[in-house]
Symmetry: C2
Subunit: 96 residues, 2 copies
Amino acid sequence: MSALDPTAIQRGLQSIPEWKLEQHEIVRTFAFSDFVSAVRFVNRVAEKAEAEGHHPDIDIRYNKVRLALTSHDAKGLTEMDFNLARSCDATLKADQ
Amino acid sequence: MSALDPTAIQRGLQSIPEWKLEQHEIVRTFAFSDFVSAVRFVNRVAEKAEAEGHHPDIDIRYNKVRLALTSHDAKGLTEMDFNLARSCDATLKADQ
């Protein structure tokens, strides 16, 4: 899969308004009520990541989870990143 | 619980030789065979953290997990940090 051009990246970002572009990554921090809820979300994200063969960087800070996505092989952002980001957003909504 | 003095910190570090002191934290990066094994380890650490009421910063990078421990309330390292670090080391050994 090849890296998206800036126009395609902007279009992709419109579908995930909670995510921000940082360098060659898309990043979102999710806040939960406590640590246990945060870890539960990480497990759901991990299942999706493993199923898609695409793994975000995951930082847990007590009740907050920061996900960062990029496609190292493509040296940039690809559709895989936006697909997984949308999938993580859907996971959050399913929990609420 | 009050922050440990430098001598007590050095003594504590001797009991966890794989951990490094970085500023006011103790830090170790654990490497696993794959992402699923890394997430499994994170879940074991999370259980211990929740049981002890003390939560490390956790960074997952595919098959690597970086844990960082400090005691924000005490503005430094306390026995709680060293206890949890030893507990994480024991978790790793139990997995192998």
